[in-house]
Amino acid sequence: MADEKYETHEYDVIVIGAGGAGLRAAIEASAQGVRTALICKSLLGKAHTVMAEGGIAAALGNVYPEDNWQVHFRDTMRGGKMLNNWRMAQLHAQEAPARVVELEAWGALFDRTKDGRILQRDFGGHRYARLAHVGDRTGLEMIRTLQQHAVHKGIDVFMECTIVRLLKEGERACGAFGYWRETGRFVVFKAKAVVLATGGIGKAWKITSNSWEYTGDGHALAYGVGADLIDMEFVQFHPTGMVWPPSVRGILVTEGVRGDGGTLKNALGERFMFNYIPEFFRAETAETEAEADGWYTDKKKNRRTPDLLPRDEVARAIVAEIKAGRGSPHGGVFLDIASRRDPETIKRRLPSMYHQFKELADVDITKQPMEVGPTCHYAMGGVRVDADTTAATVPGLFAAGEVAGGMHGANRLGGNSLSDLVVFGRRAGLYAAEYAKRSPGSFTVDAGQLGAIARECLEPFERGGDENPYTVHRDLQECMQILVGIIRNEGELKKALEELAVLRERQGRVRVAGNRQYNPGWHLAMDLHSMLTVSEAVARAALERKESRGAHTREDYPRMDPTFGKVNVVVRRVGDAMSVSQEPLPQMPDDLRRLFEESK
């Protein structure tokens, strides 16, 4: 038994990642009475969910009683340019309200309406004010609530523990291999079911709102054991990230600024979004500034402001304005709330934006406009899962949250990710626990498999390479930013694939200094493996989809193509090569399809 030499833990369910989805999955799994472990790369409560600002979308109908799950479902599907997995979008819209109320039952305190209910705010692509929120720190409220609820549930938490590979017995996933950041020692988890909740991939881009953790680990782990990834070409660039000073470039500016009345302007002071209303949304979007401004208070008489078109539309419009030479001094556009709301309202509704600009950019957002530009924010694509159970295509493997694909189609609406986390986090925990209960007692982990992974991890210490992991990472970010950014074309994507091959080869020569104890250089060297894998998947999928849809924009194919509207691009590992194929979308039943006809 060679696996004896590694610290080994045995559980029914392990959850990898402790953001909103991971915490919710772990809570649910342990509530089902199975032994559950929660494994996270950072300290508990630091996951990327804390950075979510604007709110959690749920058709509670507290502000607009007309709102219901059908309207939310329709908004989500249209925002995703009809490429979403309809069943996921349906479950999401149906279950989100209950999940929000559940957070309140666990101690969350959302902002209130005058009659004491949960207040909801406007956001891009949502027909009604729908986002339950806490100022502009909703993600913090959510993760803290889940964390404080989870600590009393007997879940074992492994903090600062990074998983590098999943383990398999035959065809099914049966555990994970990782290391403790603190000591650099390896650790093996044997588990009947594995839930991936590792979040996104944004750290492969240079300008990003994502933290160091977002290296696509879950995508790469699933890919590594042969699971399907879908929709990888859809990477959301949030239209409003900070652009100045350089060191904070990419830090998120919440869509709540626009939800609360802020408006985008170019260097000439024009509200340019009125010039970028696409045909697809024309019927539901305001045409004049007066109508747009009226919409904030009266949604029946007025149509939605184009400032709150879905994120893909707004990001493209900003890029076009900058390209046309109407950008702000530091290469963004202006986001103005100072001239539209009084200082007290701004500080009350957007405290952390106020704080962030004041402290990091010397800008007082109650007096001056912000400078903003697109920043890599969210991966719509991810592990292909069964809508109801979140099961991946590899038995024993489940995925929820950003790492899972399908829910958001070609573009995610703001606010839908926090609700996605809790709706599908809960489902992942539930069905992983059920799967674990049905699974036979014990299994063996192949010792040779473990030894090979460990050797691979330790290579950067031993080989006589000449590459610095930080330099390789920087070059990867440059490559993805320039060649696989918001606007793409075939030539650049092919060039990106060539560069990625070179980077892959350079990664093989990375050498790290020091020892295994808390060594970020070494950690990065291992994360590079994940980032290179997902980068390649994104580039290949983007090359395959020869149309423009949602977050995926091709200069050489600028229109939506109905034939591509019927397929997902699927990436999977075949042998040691990455295969790309087109597979048909699941078909929506007629009663749901009717929702889209009625509204025309």
Binding site: S42, L43, G45, K46, A47, H48, V50, M51, V101, E104, A105, W106, G107, L109, D111, R112, D115, R117, I118, V134, G135, R137, L140, E141, R144, Q148, H149, V151, H152, E182, S211, W212, E213, W244, P245, P246, S247, V248, I251, L252, S352, H355, Q356, E359, L360, N468, P469, Y470, T471, R474, V512, A513, G514, N515, Q517, Y518, N519, P520, G521, W522
Partner: protein, 249 residues
């Protein structure tokens, strides 16, 4: 822009020393950017924690020129040009490596605080009714990003290691105040605040409030109101007498 000289404490539980580095600084940079540059250029293995780099996750606390701060929110332009900047790990927690400390004390305390327990729902649909004025006070506490700078600066545990057994620290007074004043919570925790959390050890010298990056008024709004609630239950002689005379409560 010019180069800056930074002294970074490097070492582990066995000991360590300040290492001096020179790195170029550009407009708008924060201390964390400087540390990242050191990591990328001079010392790939420089250990530090960070996540969001926007003051929202509370991972990157350290002592910059002796002041506990989030390095991601400490702009380089607050220092006089040419000044050597010293960055050391948080002092109250055991060193793991370089700027990374073992903050598990905080997670242990968190585990010992009894969970939130809500009253039954107010409406048939399972929801509650709360007014904004009911929650304003508690929302301030829930801004806490758990950076643990308040725990680090609090002299009760910073200078008196043994008190860690008897004292929860400012972060958890904020948490306890949050539960105490939560409009839905039904638990009473004044006994816990006095005994387990050891609020009497706090001498309200307010350093926790001074270092809080979220500007939570920890002392005035959380600790002192808790002290007053403890007085209600345990120290007020008139209340005590009334209880004796009228029977319990």
């Amino acid at each position: 822009m010019a180069d800056v000289t930074v002294r970074v404490w490097r070492g582990n539980a066995q000991g360590g020393a300040f290492h001096e580095y020179r790195v170029p600084v550009e407009e708008g940079m924060v201390v964390l950017d400087v540390l990242h540059r050191i990591q990328a250029i001079h010392a790939n293995d420089l250990a530090l924690r960070w996540n969001c780099k926007a003051g929202k996750c509370g991972s990157c606390g350290a002592e910059v020129n002796g002041h506990p701060r989030l390095t991601c929110m400490t702009r380089m332009n607050i220092f006089t040009p040419g000044e050597t900047i010293t960055v050391a790990p948080m002092k109250t927690f055991p060193i793991i490596k370089d700027l990374v400390t073992d903050v598990s004390f905080n997670f242990q305390v968190a585990k010992k605080i009894p969970a939130f327990q809500s009253r039954p729902p107010d409406a048939p649909d399972g929801s509650w009714r709360m007014m904004q004025e009911d929650i304003d006070r508690v929302q301030e506490f829930r801004k806490c990003i758990e950076c643990f700078l308040c725990q680090n600066v609090c002299h009760v545990i910073r200078d008196h290691e043994g008190k860690k057994q008897h004292f929860a620290g400012p972060r958890f007074f904020v948490r306890l105040a949050e539960l105490e004043m939560h409009p839905l919570d039904t638990g009473t925790r004044t006994g816990l605040v006095k005994e387990f959390a050891g609020i009497g050890l706090c001498n309200i010298t307010k350093c926790c409030t001074e270092v809080c990056p979220e500007h939570i008024r920890i002392t005035d709004n959380a600790i002192i109101p808790l002290k007053e609630r403890v007085v209600d239950e345990h120290y007020d002689p008139v209340v005590w007498l009334l209880r004796k005379v009228l029977g319990k409560r």
